[in-house]
Amino acid sequence: MNSEVKINGRQFTILVIMNTLGSAIIMGPAIVASYGRENSWISVLIASMIGILVVLMYIQIFKLDRNKDIFQLLEKLLGKWLGKFISFLFVLYVFYVVIGNLRAMGDFIITHILVETPLEVMILLILITCLIGVRMGIEVISRTSEVFFPYVAIAIFLLIAMVFKEAEVTKIQPILQTNIGGMLAGAVPLIGYPFFELIILLSLMKDVNKPEKAKKAFIIGVTIGGFLLTSITLMCLLVLGVDLTVRNTYPTYVLGKKISIADFVERVEVIVAIIWFFTIFFKIMTIFYVLSVGVSRILNLKSYKTVTVPIAYFIIVFAVVLAPNVVYTSQFITGTWIPLSATFGLVLPIILLVVGLLKENKTRS
């Protein structure tokens, strides 16, 4: 495996932001608002804070061995066979994140933009593009993300700026007075989706040219990502109100529909789609890359590229059969996904840390 591949700190930050926003930027507000009501932007804030703490924990794992990705680390710490087994389960999880995101993107397009296009075609088109990116390697993915990030940033800024005049503070009142339990409950699904998913990026940290920068980049990335998520949720609530935010499957897109400046700048909601296509596209690419690397580690292959094509087939097939409908997806996110992501985003890293630190102590003494 080519270990000379290096990305720099800034590129890693951008990848982290893209992965945090991912599909949460468009579906998150509805999920959170159904619990947190008018306080749900605080739920997102809480989730982001916990996200930062979670990332701090991941960084501790990174410190255990700076030259190994999580799959190598698992084998090193847990022994060859147990390590491989856990790696396999982790790969399954990563695989699920890829197909979940791919499906979310496909579902969105066929709900709002190209209604008569079959889902399979949408998924195929997106995945072929991702496959090309993955085969080019993480260096190319990160550099491309660096090129496209300004567009995402500008689009988010434009979206917020253009709907700002429609915002009404009364829509989020009363602040922090009622429904505190709901506010906390709203944070729970959001921690699993997207913050626990960031463990997948842990594997990329060793590819950052300066380890110190990687740590900083990870924290900065998740902070910016959390901040953007909070702002978007806040704007959804301020402009659409709780009711409409909850009722829509993709409230951020509806937020885009609200843009109307002097009856002239109108019908530009595709700006939201632009933001989202980029964020989720890079998310799928990076995770797909990690997935291929993981599989190749388990099978001790020479190059991860060997498995990219077969995996792509698997992704398409399982993404198509993933969920019977959109309702199932959102129920899954607020149900099974919570313990599932906690297993790999929280329990696994804790086990790794404990085992790692114990071993470290042993060798020292």
Binding site: L114, P174, Q177, G241
Partner: protein
């Protein structure tokens, strides 16, 4: 040779990239719907669409055909009626450019919420149309009336509504999301502006209606209709409608007038240029209370009596009178709402924001609480300018 073969195959495969959009529809395949009317029918709903004829609007050689056409169809659901319409329409109906949805009065009295689901669920519908009620007539008839100046009646209705809201005040643009949240959120009831026709709708549907200087039939923006839950229960009159807009901070520009005084005959009119209303909710010894504070700025627009408006004390006097009048309008409006037992002003919501804990107890029998609600009205009226002239003409008349 072998290499050329695979190259040829690759080239061949690029054909698949040239297919273009999957579900593309050209403009010439679409019938652009400008307005939608929903009426009650024994089968469920009667749906009427107003479709524009692009050739008559932007074509080079205009004929005497009407610029819009309407089609009606009945169905068990709105969606079914809409799709069944394809048996009569020449092209598939395209709803993205919808300006207005008219709900028949009879239909509104029977409850509107079921029909709204399709409208908010369909992806082609955008949020930018406004909803109205056709007063004392079916939506179908209203959509058939041709209007002068604006070739597309739906556009005329929409722009009339907008102008009336912005310059005259007893009207309100209600878009779908606002209506839906009024219907679902406790502590606020819905309103929709009415639309009425002067003259016979049948005559209005003839092309002659736009061929004469004085149209036989015209469509008017009427008063505001009040809903209770999802049923139309009554109408505000012009003053009450205005009062409603004062309370809900929806007045942008309007006029008001008062009598000059005891010794002088005639009236003074002012143009309200700015209005800001704040609603405050409080709980006084377990009883909810709402305070309406409205600040109005106005310019004197018309003095029809010999009064010296350059006199500070006179200005104060006029301000005082106008203040009282606005207070009366607001109280009238509240009185009517209480009579209809419908909290259209969203006082309940104000309480839920400002007194969230007590609101929980009030919420369940808000209908009763609203009927006995203590409401205090505070109006501040400031006259800023006197227009381009100072003294009135009447004062110097020989």
């Amino acid at each position: 040779m072998k290499k050329n073969g695979s190259k040829a195959l690759l080239l061949f495969m690029t054909i698949f990239l040239l297919t273009g959009c999957w579900s593309s529809r050209e403009l010439s395949d679409l019938a652009v719907v400008t307005a939608l009317g929903i009426d009650k029918h024994e089968d469920g709903y009667k749906l009427t669409v107003q479709v524009m004829d692009p050739g008559e609007i932007a074509g080079k050689d205009l004929t005497t055909r009407t610029s819009v056409t309407t089609y009606s169809m009945t169905g068990k659901t709105v969606f079914e009626a809409l799709r069944r319409l394809t048996v009569t329409t020449p092209r598939k109906l395209y709803l993205s450019h919808l300006r207005i949805i008219l709900l028949g009065q009879e239909f509104s009295e029977g409850g509107i919420s079921q029909s709204l689901d399709f409208i908010s669920r369909d992806h082609e519908m955008r949020l930018e149309f406004s909803l109205m009620i056709t007063k004392n007539m079916e939506a179908e008839k209203a959509l058939k009336i041709l209007t002068p100046i604006e070739k597309i009646p739906a556009n005329k209705i929409y722009s009339s509504l907008q102008t009336a809201q912005d310059n005259w005040a007893p009207a309100k643009i209600v878009e779908l999301d606002e209506l839906v949240s009024s219907l679902t959120v406790p502590g606020k009831e819905a309103v929709l502006t009415g639309l009425s026709a002067v003259g016979s709708p049948e005559v209005g549907a003839q092309i002659e209606n736009v061929e004469v200087v004085d149209s036989h039939t015209i469509v008017n923006i009427d008063e505001i209709g009040v809903f209770k839950d999802d049923k139309l229960v009554g109408w505000f009159n012009e003053n009450e409608s205005k009062g409603f807009n004062y309370i809900t901070d929806n007045v942008r520009n309007t006029i008001g007038w008062v009598e000059c005084g005891k010794e002088e005959e005639g009236t003074i009119s002012v143009e309200v240029t700015k209005n800001e209303t704040k609603l405050k909710g409080s709980i006084d010894s377990n009883l909810p209370k709402i305070t309406i504070e409205t600040t109005i700025e106005a310019n004197i627009a018309d003095v029809e009596c010999a009064i010296d408006v350059y006199d500070q004390s006179k200005i104060k006097e006029i301000e005082g009178k106008l203040k009282k009048k606005i207070e009366e309008i607001i109280k009238e409006s509240i009185g009517k709402a209480k009579e209809l037992n419908s909290d259209v002003f969203g006082f309940g919501q104000v309480l839920s924001r400002q007194e969230p804990k007590q609101w929980k107890q009030l919420k369940d029998n808000w209908d009763k609480e609203f009927a006995d609600l203590d409401i205090e009205v505070k109006v501040k009226f400031n006259i800023r300018g006197t227009g381009t002239i100072t003294e009135t003409l009447l004062g110097n008349m020989k």
